[in-house]
């Protein structure tokens, strides 16, 4: 199929429909409002449900309900709206419900600004809701990757029976890039059965119960251990990352989303100055590709690791865990909607190298 120009947010919505998602519940907020806008236009055309809920809290609980009934379902919002969804996300994890949650991050904390940021990394990867739970978190850096990962997000959510988050900064949601639709659309009728869903017993089986309440501590402990085992399987199988020019690099930038693009540009500037720089980009920020990062850091050529974020420093904690002290880790970032310039990023590398 010929390439087309798509805005990140529109592409997410279309990719979800193509992945067989037929239920969208959400509430508008900049910079992701094109997602509900697109869904409102296109979901009815495929016989799906678009519902603008009265709040973000209502939307996530509608996702909980639809998912429990076996539907392929999603919601989307931006930072403050995703904060409101945290209780519902925790409940979905407790009840082992699949679903996709899109966060197109803006500057925070609180209402912050509508400009792009990455201040919700801790919330996404450590959990903003209560309890021992994890989300698979994808962090795409271009629109083609956004649409490719969106289908996978739904598949992994169903496979592991857990919510998957698409974590984008506002720039990825708002910018345009040429893409192609590589995979054929999925029909909801062709999806695997969900024998656990509350689809009605028709008096032929015992009722399925969707619940996150385990009042007996022993039972709750067993439930938690089972979730832990599931998360361990996700850690083993679902780590994704990309490297660019890391072989023999003197300095390695670690960045996800927009800062990964900035880091590539900064590496270009450094190359002109005779310094070999590479970029390590986690595509899943949970599970985090610690071992892969550790391995590139071990190279003799590597003198410094520089983390680039549109925050005051959150992913840098994971970078330190991955690098595990074998090389010095430093940080460059701007927050609140300010995007670091490639020159600033390159200068941070020069500083880390002591030049």
């Amino acid at each position: 199929m010929a390439k087309e120009l798509w805005k990140g947010n529109e592409a997410i919505a279309e990719a979800a429909i193509r992945a067989g998602c037929r239920c969208y519940f959400g509430y508008p907020i900049t910079p992701q409002s094109e997602i509900p806008e697109y869904m409102s236009l296109h979901m009815p055309k495929v016989g799906g449900v678009f519902l603008q809920s009265e709040s973000e809290i209502a939307a996530i609980n509608m996702v909980y309900g639809a998912s429990g009934a076996g539907a392929r379902v999603m919601t989307s919002s931006s930072s403050p709206g995703v904060s409101l969804k945290q209780e519902g996300i925790s409940y979905m994890c407790g009840a082992e419900l699949p679903g996709v949650i899109v966060n197109v991050m803006r500057g925070g904390p609180g209402l912050g600004t509508i400009q792009p940021a990455q201040g919700d990394y801790f919330q996404a990867t450590r959990g903003g809701g209560n309890g021992d739970y994890r989300l698979i978190v994808f962090a795409p850096a271009n629109i083609q990757e956004v649409v490719d990962l969106m289908q996978e997000a739904f598949e992994l959510a169903d496979q592991y029976r857990m919510p998957v988050m698409m974590l984008l900064d506002g720039m990825i949601g708002q910018m345009m890039e040429p893409i192609e639709w590589k995979k054929p659309p999925v029909s909801p009728d062709d999806l695997p059965e969900k024998p656990w869903a509350t689809t009605g017993t028709k008096e032929g089986r015992a009722p399925n119960i969707i619940n996150s309440l385990f009042i007996d501590p022993e039972a709750c402990n067993v439930h938690n251990k089972r979730l832990e085992e599931k998360y361990r399987r996700v850690i083993e199988s679902e780590q994704r990352y990309e490297t660019n020019d890391t072989d023999g690099a003197e300095v390695i930038f670690v960045a996800y989303g927009t800062p990964a693009r900035l880091a590539r540009a900064a590496a270009g500037l450094l190359e002109k100055e005779g310094i070999k720089a590479g970029v390590f980009r986690p595509v899943t920020v949970w599970p985090y590709p610690y071992e892969a990062l550790h391995e590139v850091s071990l190279q003799d050529s590597v003198k410094a690791i520089v983390t680039v974020e549109m925050s005051t420093g959150q992913m840098v904690d994971d970078v330190r865990i991955g690098v595990n002290g074998v090389k010095p880790v430093s940080f460059i970032g701007q927050a609140g909607g300010v995007i670091p310039t490639p020159r600033e990023v390159a200068n941070a590398a020069l500083k880390a190298l002591g030049r």
């Binding site: 390439k3 087309e4 120009l5 798509w6 805005k7 529109e10 279309e14 900049t30 910079p31 600004t113 509508i114 400009q115 792009p116 506002g170 720039m171 708002q174 910018m175 345009m176 890039e177 040429p178 927009t258 693009r261 900035l262 590539r264 540009a265 300010v338 995007i339 310039t341 490639p342 020159r343 600033e344």
Partner: protein, 238 residues
């Protein structure tokens, strides 16, 4: 391309058509032609990639820039009163960069009393590589919705068919053919076909519209700009 003759040129089109890139380039072309030029960014739809982001470059060439309140950065934009001057100042030609869909075009309703008293053109930018512009029916639908929301008639079509970095002469040519068919169906002139300078030679004599060669100003934060001496234009270097 023949530069605008009227006091006001309104530019609309679905987001992603490149209407802002066209508006910014048109302002530069008019200023470089020695005209007193203003650009009003009345886009109330898009939060990013707005013409006001190029204020520094525009003002350097003597172009007056007007923008929605809070320097364009609020998501509940208001229209500041100084924009009214573009309707009054007959010594100046102004471009209005309108929001990226029929909702954005609604702003014009507010200025209807002013528009009744000035000469203006209303150009609709199309990009066949955008989902809402894929078919003639799709373009006509958006064009009519834009007219209904703005309460004004569109007077010309601008073909800005492109694929960002992956644009080829062939993509522009197909878009120009498509624009020709759209123009015929709705009986409107093609004002121009837009493309970067590098395509000018290849497209010479092959277009329905006259060619309007542009530079790219609406770059992403990691893209080098030709106009800032190879610097990154997204924000001023610190």
């Amino acid at each position: 391309m023949k530069l605008p003759e009227k006091q006001i040129t309104i530019i609309s089109g679905h987001y992603g058509t490149g209407k802002t890139e066209f508006a910014v380039n048109l302002a530069f072309a008019m200023a470089r032609d020695g005209r007193k030029t203003a650009l009003a960014d009345l886009d109330i739809v898009n939060p990013y990639f707005r013409s006001y982001e190029r204020t520094r470059e525009l003002e350097r060439e003597g172009i007056a820039v007007f923008v929605t309140s809070n320097f364009g950065k609020a998501d509940i934009p208001a229209l500041p009163p100084d924009i009214m001057s573009i309707f009054v100042n007959r010594q100046q030609q102004s471009i209005i960069d309108l929001g990226g869909d029929p909702v954005g075009a609604r702003v014009l309703g507010y200025y209807q009393p002013q528009l009744d008293r000035v000469d203006f053109d209303f150009w609709f930018v199309i990009n066949q590589k955008r989902v809402e512009n894929r078919t003639i029916e799709g373009v006509v639908r958006y064009l009519r919705l834009t007219e209904a929301a703005s309460k004004q008639r569109i007077t010309g079509i601008v073909n800005n068919t492109h694929l960002g970095d992956e644009t080829t002469a062939e993509v522009i040519l197909r878009g120009d053919e498509f624009a020709g068919k759209v123009a015929e169906v709705i009986n409107l002139p093609i004002i121009c076909t837009v493309g970067e300078h590098r395509f000018e030679e290849k497209l010479k004599g092959r277009l329905n519209g006259s060619f309007f060669a542009i530079d790219r100003y609406m770059t992403k934060p990691w893209e080098l700009s030709d106009h800032e001496g190879g610097q990154f234009a997204w924000q001023q270097e610190t």
